[in-house]
């Protein structure tokens, strides 16, 4: 054997040695063809004819053989032109000959046959790949060129590999045909195997290509299936910064689907990516060579990009937090590089949906920086900052912080720019959540945001509408704003939105309409536009949140409408519908329906109707509850419903009284008030008095007589009066 041959084989061996392939059973078994051994160049030069060497290579080849045989069989069945290859398909038994060159040649044969196999199977034309490409049935010339390059990747040493990789980059890797061509000729396996070697240049070249083609969703999945992610995650540990950057950027693309994200986490990728964010840590190693160097800022940026993709999954958000990601992200926010800021804010915004993050975000003064960046020129950055604020503003302190750092003004002014819909949705979302705080609403009013919001009620996509209506709903909790909305002509579009199917939108619209209905003039408009009927029909909506929200909104409508009783009666089947909602399981729905019934029952005729529909037993069944909100509204409903016929006695018969007494033990004073009223009404009936007395109502009521709430005092006193009256009458009867 000539020295030359031997040395060459040594270099080549890094790719030729077969590795155990635990990957999935894809038909493209080329993956098993050439994994790398990962040995250093020096080691490879010591030629070892030992058996272990051979068996190591042989072991996987048996698996490989199976698929190889399959392909061979298939090709023989077909009438192929592959005289060159077809006739020379040898039975690939374990090579007995110890001579390395023969072994090398045999493996090479198999490889080439597999290449030609796959190429012939994937399309009709059977030209062997090393002919120069001719015009082919439907295949672009890139396909053949790429196939040739992949062949060089497999069969070349490091020098040839680097040349082939550089050449491959010249193709339009953004084009799907090229991307799939690389995959179809077995290029993905080779590229991934190259990542597993020790050759830095090959890794760099390979990652540059993988980074581009992994924009394709199919390719991403293929990469994960072939086990590419753990290898890439390991590369993140490399001392070469440029490698870290490339690996992180590729991971950023690959992790754009759920399985990919999970794989990153499972292989410890999150911790390593978070480590990349630490610029100070990165500058420990001095630069080794211009080829392998990169700026620390770039490393951090790539890490942030990867984390942004990964952070869409809940477990990853947690993992990022546990790895100490938040202070590092906060630190990076202070820079002014837009390229850095966007992925950092993007990550924060994704993660801020979790409560644990919001606490940490407050601590790290992130809000200040988010507000600052709202003023940037970059639209994407503005969008992500607004989204982050939207997520964080669930929390009151954050809302105050946004105001204190002057965040409300830029938000309001961004409302005027309606071209960028994503940004508009983010901005309106942020405004919505911030409006939960009254002080912020005042500010928004100052900045004329409310008028602008009303203007946005028409001609906007749903994502924007949800937030706009939500914001208006919060603003209309204030009297002045209700008037303002009416004057801007906001009522009509709001009512128009009551027709729709988007649940979140409906919840917000009903809330807004309900808030507006508190103002009598607005109520007139709503009534005129048939808004009450629309609300009422929303009670039939399958989603409980919508039902509840509609019911809450109906309360002020009924309170403030003229001829409310008449109006309610005019809805065919409306009262029956409401009463039947008392059968629901959802506490919010129940509470809201009770509140609605309280209002409905103010009209005597309607009260009669709902009594006929069986409201008394239904209400009584609900009495056994610990939910204070429900208790309060239920008690109110009961006290109203007592004012008809023999309902008082009926409540007693349906065992509503005893549970009501227990409500007096609650901590909520509004519950006390409602309950006392109910008990007062119920106590007009003698049997109820007895039950109340037996359940120890008197003592509890006595305490309440001393309460500062006047209505409560009266009701409590009145109830005790009735109970006492009965007691006295009973005693008198005993003695007569």
């Amino acid at each position: 054997m000539s020295k030359q041959e031997v040395r060459f084989s040594g270099e080549w061996k890094k790719k030729e040695a077969l590795k155990e392939a635990p990957k999935k059973e894809e038909a493209a078994a080329l993956q098993k063809a050439l994994p790398a051994s990962g040995k250093s160049v020096l080691e490879k030069n010591y030629i070892n004819f030992g058996k272990s060497q051979m068996t190591k290579r042989l072991q996987p080849s048996l698996n490989w053989k199976a698929t190889f045989d399959f392909k061979e069989h298939k090709s023989l069945l077909r009438d192929t032109q592959e005289e060159k290859h077809g006739g020379r398909l040898e039975r690939s038994g374990p090579p007995v000959s110890p001579r390395r060159s023969q072994l090398v040649r045999k493996s090479a044969e198999k490889i080439e046959e597999i290449i030609s196999e796959s190429s012939s199977e994937s399309e009709e034309d059977e030209e062997p790949p090393d002919h120069h490409q001719e015009a082919n049935a439907g295949l672009p010339s890139e396909y053949w060129q790429i196939q040739k390059l992949v062949k060089y990747l497999k069969g070349g040493n490091q020098t040839a590999t680097v040349i082939a990789l550089c050449s491959m980059q010249d193709f339009n890797l953004a084009q799907e045909t090229c991307q799939l061509a690389i995959r179809d000729v077995g290029g993905l396996e080779v590229l991934i195997n190259l990542l597993d070697t020790d050759e830095v240049k090959c890794k760099i070249g390979s990652l540059k290509i993988l980074k581009e083609i992994s924009h394709n969703p199919q390719i991403r999945r293929n990469i994960v299936d072939l086990g590419g992610l753990p290898i890439m995650v390991n590369i993140l540990d490399s001392p070469h910064k440029s490698l870290k950057c490339l690996a992180a950027e590729t991971i950023a693309n690959v992790a754009k689907f759920r399985r990919g994200r999970r794989a990153v986490r499972r292989h410890g990728g999150i911790t390593k990516l978070v480590a990349l964010l630490d610029c100070a840590q990165n500058s420990g190693e001095p630069a080794q060579s211009s080829l392998y160097d990169a700026r620390d800022v770039e490393v951090a940026r790539c890490g942030a990009l990867a984390l942004w993709s990964c952070s869409k999954s809940y477990e990853n958000k947690e993992a990022i937090r546990k790895a100490g990601g938040i202070p590092l992200l906060a630190g990076l926010l202070k820079t002014s590089h837009e390229n850095m800021l966007i992925p950092v804010v993007g990550t924060l915004q994704e993660c801020a949906s979790e409560e644990s993050y919001r606490t940490a975000i407050k601590a790290e003064r992130i809000i200040e920086n988010l507000v600052k960046n709202l003023n940037s020129e970059n639209e994407q950055l503005q969008e992500h900052c607004a989204m982050a604020i939207y997520q964080c503003a669930e929390d009151k302190e954050t809302r105050d912080l946004v105001r204190l750092h002057g965040g409300l003004k830029p938000l309001a002014s961004l409302l005027n720019n309606t071209d960028n819909k994503e940004r508009l949705a983010a901005v309106t979302g942020a405004i919505w959540k911030c409006s939960i705080s009254k002080e912020n609403v005042t500010k928004f009013r100052e900045y004329k945001a409310i008028e602008t919001l009303v203007g946005l009620l028409t001609d906007q996509p749903e994502e924007v509408l949800v937030n706009v209506v939500g914001a208006l709903g919060e603003c209309c909790q204030e009297y002045e704003n209700r008037v303002l909305v009416r004057k801007c002509g906001g009522i009509q579009p709001l009512v128009n939105l009551l027709i729709g199917i988007n649940q979140t939108l409906l919840v917000n619209v009903t809330k807004a309409v309900g808030a507006c209905a508190l103002e009598p003039e607005s109520m007139t408009i709503i009534d005129r536009l048939d808004g009450v009927r629309l609300l009422w029909s929303l009670l039939k909506n399958p989603h409980p949140d919508v039902k509840a929200s509609a019911a809450w909104a109906l309360c002020p409508c009924i309170q403030n409408a003229k001829d409310a009783g008449e109006m309610v009666r005019s809805f065919v089947g409306g009262l029956e519908l409401v009463v039947n909602l008392l059968r629901s399981d959802n506490k919010e729905v129940l509470a809201s329906v009770c509140a609605a019934i309280t209002n409905i029952a103010k009209d005597q005729e309607n009260l009669a109707v709902i009594t006929d529909h069986g409201v008394v037993p239904l209400l009584s069944k609900l009495a056994n509850t610990n939910n204070d909100k429900l208790r309060r509204h239920l008690a109110e409903a009961i006290s109203r419903c007592c004012m008809w016929g023999r309902n008082r006695a009926a409540f007693g018969e349906y065992k509503a009284v005893a549970p009501l007494v227990r409500y007096l033990k609650s901590n909520d004073t509004s519950v006390h008030q409602a309950t006392a009223q109910a008990l007062y009404q119920l106590s007009e009936d003698a049997d109820n008095c007895i039950i109340m007395h037996e359940n120890g109502a008197v003592k509890l009521l006595l305490d309440m007589v001393g309460s500062p709430d006047q209505d409560l005092q009266e009701a409590a006193a009145g109830c005790i009066y009735n109970i006492r009256k009965l007691a006295l009458a009973t005693e008198k009867a005993r003695y007569t």
């Binding site: 830095v200 240049k201 001095p286």
Partner: protein
């Protein structure tokens, strides 16, 4: 060599060579003389590393394996073409080899690859250098076809003035666009992964820096 001469040599070399400080130059000089072995200094006899000794170093220390490239590297070091790498050539050569800037490395590599020294890397030279880079596939009618193709690919990528050969300008432009192409025709620079400590200064506690040169019997201080 006596001490005074050594001192003078060290100073000269440190001044001219940009990447090593005085202590490192000292170290390298000592190393050189260790490698050359016991030779009395005499007029007319050049003290230096001959081709074989030098290639041995390339192989043992830097893990280089390609015969032809190693030969070219020797030529690159041996600027006066006398068949020996003397101590100055040693220092200057290592300066680029280990710590050269991109410009220095580009010039060095180009010289290595330009086999006949005419200022151009021709197709034939490329073919010669790449001829063993592809696995010979027996099923191929013309095993050189792959190599020729590779040469074409490389030329297409790097030949910007389209004259069928690579001038230094072509090469430089190509490398600036894609740094991976620096050693396009063969590994003529050491791989940092093998001995990373060689590639930068290690300041010691006493303020001197030393060069950690891997040897069988320990490190050079």
């Amino acid at each position: 060599m006596n001490r005074k001469k050594l001192q003078k040599l060290t100073d000269t070399l440190t001044k001219n060579c940009k990447h090593f400080n005085k202590f490192e130059v000292n170290c390298l000089i000592n190393l050189f003389y260790n490698l050359v072995g016991e030779v009395t200094e005499r007029q007319g006899i050049t003290i230096g590393l001959d081709r074989n000794a030098f290639r041995n170093i390339l192989h043992m220390t830097f893990g280089m394996t390609d015969d032809m490239i190693m030969d070219r590297v020797f030529r690159g070091f041996d600027k006066d073409n006398d068949g020996y790498v003397n101590v100055s050539e040693w220092i200057y050569g290592l300066s680029v080899f280990l710590r050269g800037t991109l410009e220095e490395k580009m010039k060095y590599c180009f010289e290595v690859f330009d086999l006949n020294g005419d200022g151009f890397i021709s197709k034939e030279e490329m073919f010669h250098m790449l001829k063993n880079s592809l696995l010979k596939q027996p099923s191929e009618e013309d095993p050189d076809e792959g190599i020729k193709d590779l040469v074409e690919i490389t030329l297409k990528k790097m030949d910007h003035d389209h004259d069928g050969k690579l001038s230094f300008t072509d090469y430089e432009q190509a490398v600036r666009e894609e740094t991976l192409l620096l050693e396009a025709f063969g590994p003529c620079l050491p791989d940092p992964k093998n001995h990373p400590q060689l590639f930068h200064s290690h300041p010691r506690a006493d303020g001197n820096s030393h060069l950690v040169w891997p040897r069988k019997d320990g490190n050079c201080i």
